[in-house]
């Protein structure tokens, strides 16, 4: 519409149009744009058996994030209230909120949320999309490192490294991996809302860990693995060779032998339990400021 025609029309018609439509176009839905923050603050965790995990590093690939109007996030959140479609690495040791991006969408009451951990399941491909944040973590969603102090007198500190890939299963293809539980979230998003903050507690993910599986006092037999540990002594069941791992400042890991650190990854039961805890949103609190 030309400027001339538009000006003439606006002068004549807009007041009448506003009179006719004002109050009728008024609705509870307004565009919004909020600051999205993420923070941690947990530096250690105590396991059920008393083992203390002291974190030297706790990095999480956080994002994308969606706020939903329905009480059940997931399939019913095909139209989200607001979204942030990127991902960032969150230092979970830092309690200070970190601005990760802008949550854009529409006002309304959000009763649930959902997010990914840097790895996004797409409807269009079988291979999930690894975002930059996850690539910073070596293609992983979560990286936890530190030392584990076993509740045994005189037991050495055991370095550990947890590296997990957290993504939706094929059955949930196209849905973000973390979906809030019903009733866990209830917030009004409106143009005056300034920010939304997600606080992660990494301790909640590991409290269920049982590191006992990683410590073994066995000898070779017909049913044992290739390498067994008798305390800190590694024995190769095929060659029969033994090695004192402690003498080298290492630990003895079942089936692996002497290792610099305890590695928990996607292949272990412990790793899967940590991933499940993350998926269930354990320790995650999302609040509106």
């Amino acid at each position: 519409m030309s400027k001339t025609a538009g000006s003439a029309f606006s002068a004549l018609a807009l007041p009448l149009g506003a009179l006719l439509s004002g109050g009728c176009t008024e609705s509870a839905v307004f565009p919004i744009s909020l600051d999205l923050y993420a923070r941690g603050g947990t530096t250690e965790a105590t396991l059920a058996d008393g083992t203390r995990l002291l974190f030297d590093r706790a990095d999480l690939a956080f994002g994308p994030f969606y706020a939903c109007a329905g009480a059940q996030a997931g399939q019913t959140c095909m139209a989200a209230l607001a979204e942030w479609r990127e991902a960032a690495v969150i230092d979970l040791l830092d309690a200070d909120p970190m601005l990760v991006g802008s949550l854009d969408g529409y006002s309304g009451r959000a009763l649930s949320y959902m997010h990914d951990c840097g790895i996004v399941s797409l409807l269009t491909t079988e291979t999930p999309l690894v975002l930059g944040a996850a690539e910073e973590l070596g293609g992983r969603s979560l990286a936890l490192e530190g030392t584990a102090e076993l509740p045994l007198a005189g037991a050495p500190s055991v370095p550990f490294r947890i590296a997990l890939t957290i993504a939706s299963s094929e059955a949930d293809r196209g849905q973000p991996v973390v979906r809030s539980a019903p009733g866990a979230f209830d917030a009004e998003l409106h143009p005056e809302t300034s920010a939304l903050t997600a606080t992660f507690d990494s301790a909640a993910w590991v409290t269920g860990l049982d590191l006992g599986a990683f410590f073994q006092d066995e000898s070779c037999n017909d049913q044992s693995a290739a390498v067994v540990c008798a305390g800190t002594t590694s024995q190769d069941c095929q060659s029969g060779e033994t090695e004192d791992c402690a003498a080298a400042g290492q630990i003895c890991a079942p089936d692996r032998g002497c290792q610099d650190e305890l590695v928990i990854d996607d292949t272990s039961e412990a790793g899967r339990s940590v991933a499940q805890a993350v998926t269930l949103g354990a320790g995650l609190v999302v609040v509106v400021d």
């Binding site: 519409m1 030309s2 025609a5 538009g6 029309f9 606006s10 018609a13 807009l14 009448l16 149009g17 006719l20 439509s21 109050g23 009728c24 176009t25 008024e26 609705s27 509870a28 839905v29 307004f30 565009p31 994308p64 969606y66 939903c68 109007a69 329905g70 009480a71 059940q72 019913t76 959140c77 095909m78 139209a79 989200a80 209230l81 607001a82 979204e83 479609r85 990127e86 854009d104 969408g105 529409y106 309304g108 009763l111 996004v120 797409l122 409807l123 269009t124 491909t125 999309l129 975002l131 094929e170 293809r173 196209g174």
Partner: protein
């Protein structure tokens, strides 16, 4: 009501020996002819009196304005009659709509029994007037000519002057004016086609060219749009004539092969769900169409074949049927005398557009007789918008006397690509241009193809004293297929577990076979008392539709593989309507019309995908399919009132209840009364100053029980609950001078949703809330049609005509979901034409304000990058409107 024929016969001053029959004064005995003149004897020897029955009437002779006057009459026979025939009784001729006052000369042979044995038109203003004159002449009886006291056959020439009948006695006095004086010369006829004439409460003129008058324009928001107004602005397509309808906005949103999208009077009628459209008496809306309830594709329409529009906004006429929610539009087909002949036009223009038209309307034939063909081809603007279309319309009116017939056939085929809708943030981000299509197979496969064949045969009866009837049969076949992807890659297969992301390209198919009938009869004028008289009309209409339809998701990159089925059904739809209409005059100033319409609907739905088990669960113990039936009945009152305050000023009011049939696929077993009801009330005032000005100011209120809206994401109609509309319309047509015609309309409406669907688990974030404006509807619509035609000069003795025409539509912003709204828009079309002898050269411009105007906007979720994080927040999407377009046309009239 029988009256003496009004001023029919005037003395022929220069006819030589042809006897002069003086005009009978109203209320006086028919005078004896002036001194008898010699009359040429009948060419045939006197024959026995013909057998009882209507005499054969020759069809009106072709009139050629260029013919030289005929030879002088022969010398009188020595055996001259001593007294010519004397007119005794008979019906007055009715001036057909669109005709101005005129004189038609008849040559009749009056038999010895005083009845007309032969009648032909020797000269007249147009063939339709001749028909009207002959029809009236058939009812005349004469005192036969006499020779020496013995009755003899005689041929006489009569001049028939069309006039409105005069009032007598108290009625004349009440009407006042010149016409009230007994013996005064009658006022010349000025027909306005919209109801009773000034001064005559009984004469009502139909607008379909039939000679049985009926008040087609009865409600405050009813309009008769003349051909002059419809032809004022250039029309890129035939359907663009509807842009002259007050308050209507019409745009192409999905290419040449998909129907226009309409909004009218606060209703987003989509492709026709809220506007009943009839063309030449053929109902165009298709019930339960997969692409939209009441789907009405007017792509077949050829602008030059449209004679007039009868627009009924609101519901005041018992004849209005299904889909008359905002109102109804009756398109009258015909070619007036000035345009008859062989017309050939070729047009070339922007975007490789080519259009070829041929229209043949034989000059000697009836106004409604013509044939027209149109071929269109365009490369389309932007990307993925090429298309071709062909249409043909043939109509013929034949027969004479009280029973005439009309046959009509139309055919249409179109195939066009479509760019669909693009995300506004993608346009702003440079991902895709405003007129482009996404560079993906699933986006570039969008398009549609359509084909339609319809025909009808109608018999029209015109009896004495305005009695009339119509009987009609019609049938049609429609085939439709559309491919549309509006959401990109967000769909998941419901039939195949784990299959998703293959592109949301929906394929819709719809085949409809229809058969229908209609009949109506209107009594002659009934007089209860001198101050109370009127007519009663009853009618019935029925239709049977057999529909086969499907909706599937297909993968355009793999030979259109089907990866999900969303609908597959066969429908049998039966609708029976009947109406009773009373049209009564109380005194001279009050007309009360009203009646009731009854409707019965029956549905049989064979849903082949119903009861389909969840594929992720173990196989159940049943087979897919859900066959069900539903019926509906309704009785719908309609009434209107007209109070004539003065000959030029009337107050009008109306109320009516209308309905829209349900989308069959959404009905459950045994569901009753599946009709969406609407109540509409209108009040208004009308001012008519002859043919110079016809203006109306109306207010209206409409309450809809169930608003439906097309969801582009789901590709289906969704219910939005009840809605209310309150508005006003100003409409004026004017022809202040013969060379200038214009029409202006301003429509303001406030449309609100009263109870849109509340959030549910499946739809927790609905786009609408109570009190919100109805989406897609502009609050203010302005339309201007203006045309001027002047003679620039007469080079080589022939006039060189200049024609200027313009059409301007302005619409205020339209609300979308999620608090979005479109900007205000304006379309300007203009024409500059020169006509010299039989050649016409014209330059037409369309949408001259142009720019990046959107034909369609909506807010919904989509994801168009298959390798990126999907968006889940509703985003605004746009489909570009046609940019400024220029066509150069060359026409030849033979």
């Amino acid at each position: 009501m029988r009256r003496w024929p009004p001023v029919l016969l005037v003395p022929l001053c220069a006819a030589g020996p042809i006897p002069a029959l003086a005009a009978p004064e109203v209320g006086a005995d028919p005078p004896v002819a002036s001194p008898p003149a010699d009359i040429p004897p009948a060419e045939d020897p006197p024959a026995p009196s013909p057998a009882p029955g209507p005499p054969a009437l020759d069809p009106p002779a072709a009139r050629d304005e260029d013919d030289a006057p005929g030879p002088p009459p022969a010398e009188p026979s020595p055996r001259a009659v001593t007294s010519p025939p004397r007119l005794l009784t008979g019906a007055r001729p009715v001036l057909p709509p669109g005709a101005t006052d005129a004189v038609v000369e008849l040559v009749v042979v009056v038999g010895v029994d005083g009845r007309i044995e032969e009648a032909t038109v020797s000269a007249g203003s147009d063939p339709e007037l001749g028909e009207a004159a002959l029809a009236a002449a058939r009812t005349w009886s004469f005192e036969p000519a006499r020779r020496n006291g013995e009755a003899v056959r005689a041929r006489v020439r009569l001049a028939v002057e069309f006039d409105p009948p005069l009032l007598e006695g108290p009625e004349a006095a009440a009407a006042g004016g010149e016409s009230a004086k007994a013996g005064a010369r009658p006022v010349a006829a000025v027909h306005d086609h919209t109801g009773p004439h000034e001064g005559d409460a009984h004469l009502e003129v139909t607008v379909h060219g039939t000679r049985a008058p009926r008040a087609e324009v009865r409600g405050p928001s009813d309009y008769f749009l003349h051909h002059e107004v419809l032809a004022a602005a250039p029309r890129l397509e035939g359907a663009d004539v509807l842009r002259s309808v007050p308050g209507l906005v019409s745009v192409r949103t999905e290419g040449l092969a998909v129907a226009h999208s309409f909004s009218l009077r606060g209703f987003d009628a989509e492709h026709g769900q809220d506007v009943a459209i009839n063309v030449g008496g053929l109902p165009i809306n298709l019930p339960s169409h997969i692409h939209g309830q009441g789907y009405a594709d007017l792509g077949f329409l050829i602008a030059e074949s449209v004679d007039h529009l009868v627009v009924k906004e609101g519901i005041a006429d018992p004849r209005q049927g299904d889909f008359s929610v905002a109102g109804s539009i009756d398109v009258g087909l015909g070619v007036d005398e000035a345009r008859r002949g062989l017309f050939i036009e070729s047009a070339f223009g922007s975007f490789d557009t080519f259009r070829q038209k041929v229209l043949w309307a034989p000059r000697e034939a009836h106004r409604e007789s013509f044939g027209a063909v149109q071929l269109t081809s365009t490369g389309g603007f932007g990307e993925n918008r090429s298309g071709q279309a062909a249409s043909a319309i043939v109509q013929h009116r034949f027969g004479h006397g009280p029973l005439t017939y009309r046959a009509l056939a139309l055919a249409h085929a179109a195939d066009a690509a479509s760019a669909g809708m693009v995300r506004k943030d993608d346009v702003e981000g440079g991902v895709v241009c405003f007129t482009c299509a996404y560079d993906l197979d699933t986006a570039r496969a969008q398009g549609a193809s359509a084909a339609r064949l319809m025909g009808g045969f109608f018999a029209d009866y015109e009896g004495p004293e305005h009695a009339s009837g119509t009987l009609g049969l019609w049938g049609g076949i429609d085939d439709f297929r559309a491919l549309s992807n509006t959401t990109g890659f967000i769909e998941v297969s419901e039939q195949l577990p784990g299959v998703s992301g293959r592109g949301d390209l929906f394929e819709q198919t719809n085949q409809t076979g229809s058969l229908g009938m209609l009949g109506r009869y209107r009594t002659q004028a009934l007089e209860v008392s001198p101050w109370l008289h009127g007519t009663v009309e009853a009618g019935v209409d029925a239709r049977l539709d057999l529909v086969g339809q499907s909706q599937s998701l297909i993968d355009a990159s793999v030979h259109n593989q089907v990866w999900d089925a969303r609908a597959r059904a066969d429908l049998r739809l039966m609708q029976l309507g009947t109406f009773l209409d009373l049209d009564w005059q109380l005194g001279t100033a009050l007309t009360l019309r009203g009646g009731v319409r009854g409707v019965a609907q029956s549905y049989l739905i064979d849903d082949q995908l119903g009861n389909l088990p969840d594929p992720s669960r173990p196989q159940g113990d049943s087979l897919p399919g859900y066959r069900r039936t539903a019926t509906g009945l309704a009785l719908l009152p309609r009434t209107s009132l007209e109070v004539r305050m003065a000959p030029a000023l009337s107050l009008l009011a109306s109320y009516g209840r209308g309905y829209r049939s349900a989308q069959a696929a959404g009905l459950d077993e045994g569901e009753s009364a599946p009709l969406s009801l609407v109540d509409s009330a209108d009040v208004g005032v009308r001012l008519r100053l002859g043919k110079k000005v016809d203006a109306k100011l109306t207010g209206h209120a409409t309450f809809v029980g169930d608003e439906i809206l097309f969801d582009p994401a789901d590709q289906e109609l969704e219910s939005l609950g009840p809605s209310t509309r309150i508005g006003a319309t100003l409409h004026a047509q004017a022809m202040p001078w013969d060379w200038l015609v214009g029409a202006l309309s301003v429509t303001a409406v406030r449309a609100t949703l009263e109870g849109p669907p509340a959030p549910t688990a499946e739809e927790p974030f609905p786009p609408f809330v109570p009190g919100q404006a109805v989406p897609g509807v502009p609050a203010l619509t302005v339309r201007l049609d203006l045309s001027a035609r002047r003679t620039l000069g007469t080079p080589f003795g022939h006039p060189l005509e200049l024609e200027l025409g313009t059409g301007l539509t302005v619409a205020s912003e339209r609300p979308l979901g999620y608090s979005e709204a479109t900007p205000e828009v304006a379309w300007l079309d203009a024409l500059l034409g020169f006509e010299y002898r039989s050649v016409k050269l014209a330059l037409s411009g369309y949408n001259l304000f142009g720019g990046t105007m959107a034909a369609r906007e909506a807010a919904f979720v989509s994801s168009w990058d298959p390798s990126a994080v999907p968006s889940r927040v509703p985003e605004r999407h746009v489909a570009a409107a046609v940019p400024p377009t220029v066509l150069l046309s060359l026409g030849l009239t033979l």
